[in-house]
């Protein structure tokens, strides 16, 4: 809704009060409409929905047991019996990819959850309290950002020990600086607003002001960053698993599956090809949706 003074008497003037009231929910509804209207972000949304449905119904979609070995059927090319072929232990690749969707979602939720919670808290506190608190927190963030992220993740897994859980923790920690910086800058602008001043004036405590008034108004950039981070987290965790530092056998994790197929690249390229395509599509989905969300939630881009 335009805030410019309207020179022409507005026949709907009496409805102005109503339209001001649900302003925040209007933003979300408008944004949702814009996402659906945008072709690319709609494709992203569809890919994410397919991923979620696949994960939920994995046992029904999979044609075989994902970890059942059948040495006689090893390195079978894609066929009607094994849609995407079999790997070096005769396991059905299609079923492994289907079950792997659950692990990808798990990685996305847990790793990004860690980054989100720690990053929002650190960024929120730094931005809200300012001065020396801000200085200390942001210098720590600077130090973390001095490492290329995948390298820091590798180093963390190196000390924690290789496992899917530790890979998720490492990818989560590596994602903290991004969130902290975005939230901090959002908080810096929100905390100057009058409603925050009003909340302080009626005696609300800092914790309450930050949690109830400041952070909820920084939601848009946080949501965009979360979506984009899920794609990156899945990619990084797959990279760690590919290096043998994440999911361990026989877990049907896509990066680990790719790594299993390396030895047979010459004769059985499908063992490598299909898990990679799965990673690519899921990451693409989150990237498309995240980009769409960013545009949709940016009021400057509203026609």
């Amino acid at each position: 809704m335009s805030l410019q003074p309207n020179p022409i008497p507005d026949p709907d003037a009496t409805r102005v009060d109503e339209s001001i009231q649900p302003k925040s929910s209007r933003l979300w509804v408008d944004s949702l409409i814009r996402i659906i209207k945008s072709k690319t972000s709609f494709i992203g949304l569809c890919i994410i929905l397919i991923l979620i449905l696949t994960a939920i119904f994995a046992p029904m979609i999979a044609t075989h047991n994902p970890i059942e070995q059948n040495i006689i059927d090893r390195y079978q090319a894609p066929s009607s019996d094994h849609l995407l072929g079999t790997d070096e232990l005769g396991r059905d690749i299609f079923s492994r990819i289907v079950h792997g969707s659950r692990i990808s979602i798990q990685i996305g939720v847990i790793a990004v959850g860690i980054a989100l919670i720690v990053g929002v808290l650190l960024g929120g506190i730094a931005g809200y309290f300012g001065r020396w608190v801000d200085q200390i927190i942001m210098r720590i963030i600077d130090i973390m950002m001095a490492f290329p992220s995948i390298l820091l993740a590798i180093a963390l897994v190196a000390v924690l020990g290789p496992s899917l859980r530790n890979a998720m923790i490492a990818v989560g920690i590596v994602g903290v600086p991004q969130f902290a910086r975005i939230v901090r800058s959002a908080v810096l602008s929100v905390k100057e607003t009058e409603y925050v001043e009003a909340a302080r004036a009626i005696g609300a405590k800092h914790g309450r002001v930050l949690m109830q008034h400041v952070l909820p108004n920084c939601l848009a950039p946080i949501i965009v960053q979360t979506t984009l981070s899920i794609g990156t987290a899945i990619l990084d965790a797959a990279g760690l698993s590919f290096l043998g530092l994440g999911a361990q056998p026989p877990t049907p994790e896509w990066g680990a599956m790719l790594s299993d197929g390396r030895a047979a690249l010459q004769n059985a390229p499908w063992v490598v090809a299909f898990p990679g395509i799965a990673i690519f599509f899921v990451v693409l989905g989150f990237n498309l949706f995240g980009d769409g969300l960013r545009d949709a939630l940016d009021p400057r881009l509203k026609q």
Binding site: T40, R139, I140, D142, I143, M144, A146, F147, P148, S149, I150, L151, L152, I154, A155, V157, A158, V159, L160, G161, G231, L235, A238, G239, F242, L243, G244, L245, G255, L258, R262, L265, Q266, P269, V272, A273, P275, G276, I279, F280, V283, L284, N287, L288
Partner: protein, 334 residues
């Protein structure tokens, strides 16, 4: 300008101290006994004790850290637990391979990325724009380890046109001076080695350069579109300047600033991505070195290598900021 550079260099000191504390702490974050973790379950108590004494793990943390920093400042990066080789010497030998690879990847990314971005912006909504931007969108979502393996399968296994691994074919002789093989082969006038080293660089360079290429192309396009709408571009066209002069001399120059930032940031990603790329292509660089050290739990190697890469990364970021100021004198840093 000089004042700014000195100021920024001074600001680096606390960051580098923080980086050194973090890398130093790595070994102490290991659950349980680091010596046991490095030597394995079969190690005897005497072996463990000797390693602890060698690495000074029995001393208080503050003394250990002081020694860690003191050694590094004197250029001593310690020695590998497994091979007993001097880490500084190893890194010095492997670093040129990684730098050669990352610079090559970056050049590919910058040249192709900027070219695609400029054409896409000039011919907005054309087939070229659609195809290159879809490609760029796909590029940022590609797992580079998968892309690398698929390239090996197609170009080495199926078509047999590029070598799948290493820096040089066995049997080809090259006198190394700088350890940058392309440079060395030019300096020694050894063209067969140049051709061979170049063919070895192509695949890993392309795999490593794909993501930055995609990001640079997208950034260039959006930045160019913004600049092309400005009045001075219309003026330049109106006064009859040739189209390519308007695009490259007037528009690109002004659209370059955000692209430069992206390039600086991507360099760090490349250093990280080098671990994956070097592993796939058996590229004997720092990335593969640190990866093998992680697998072998050779923590001194992991520490020193990571510290060195982080330092390079920080310096590259500083260089980007300085270039930024140089490219756009309007920017004031206070």
């Amino acid at each position: 300008m000089l004042k700014y550079i000195v100021q920024r260099l001074l600001m680096l000191i606390p960051v580098l101290i923080g980086v050194s504390i973090l890398t130093f702490s790595l070994i102490h974050l290991i659950p349980g006994d680091p010596a046991r973790s490095m030597l394995g379950e079969k190690a005897t108590e005497a072996q463990l004790e000797s390693l602890r004494a060698e690495l000074g793990l029995n001393d208080p943390y503050i003394i250990q850290y002081g020694r860690f920093i003191g050694d590094i400042l004197q250029g001593d990066l310690g020695e590998s637990v497994q091979s007993k080789e001097n880490i500084g010497y190893e890194l010095l030998h492997k670093l040129p391979a990684t730098i050669e690879l990352t610079i090559f990847a970056m050049i590919l990314a910058i040249v192709i990325g900027i070219f695609a971005g400029v054409i896409a912006a000039v011919k907005q909504y054309s087939w070229f724009d659609n195809i290159s931007m879809t490609g760029a969108l796909f590029g940022v979502s590609l797992p580079i380890f998968w892309l690398g393996l698929m390239m090996i399968w197609l170009l080495s296994v199926k078509l047999n046109i590029l070598p799948p691994s290493g820096r040089l074919t066995a049997g080809i002789k090259l006198d190394t001076i700088t350890n940058f093989y392309l440079l060395d082969s030019i300096l020694t006038g050894n063209w067969s080695a140049f051709k061979d080293a170049f063919s070895h660089l192509l695949m890993p360079g392309l795999a490593l350069g794909t993501i930055p290429m995609a990001i640079i192309a997208r950034m260039t396009r959006s930045s160019m579109l913004e600049v092309m709408r400005q009045d001075f571009i219309r003026t330049a066209s109106a006064k009859g300047l040739k189209k390519h002069l308007v695009v490259f001399q007037h528009a690109l120059k002004n659209a370059f600033l955000p692209v430069l930032t992206v390039i600086g940031l991507q360099f760090g990603l490349l250093l990280g991505g080098a671990v994956l790329t070097e592993t796939i292509f058996s590229w004997p660089g720092v990335g593969r070195y640190v990866y093998l050290a992680v697998l072998g739990r050779d923590y001194p190697v992991v520490q020193s290598t990571i510290l060195m890469i982080a330092t390079i990364f920080v310096l590259v970021n500083l260089l980007t900021d300085i270039l930024y100021k140089y490219v756009d004198p309007r920017i004031r840093f206070d």
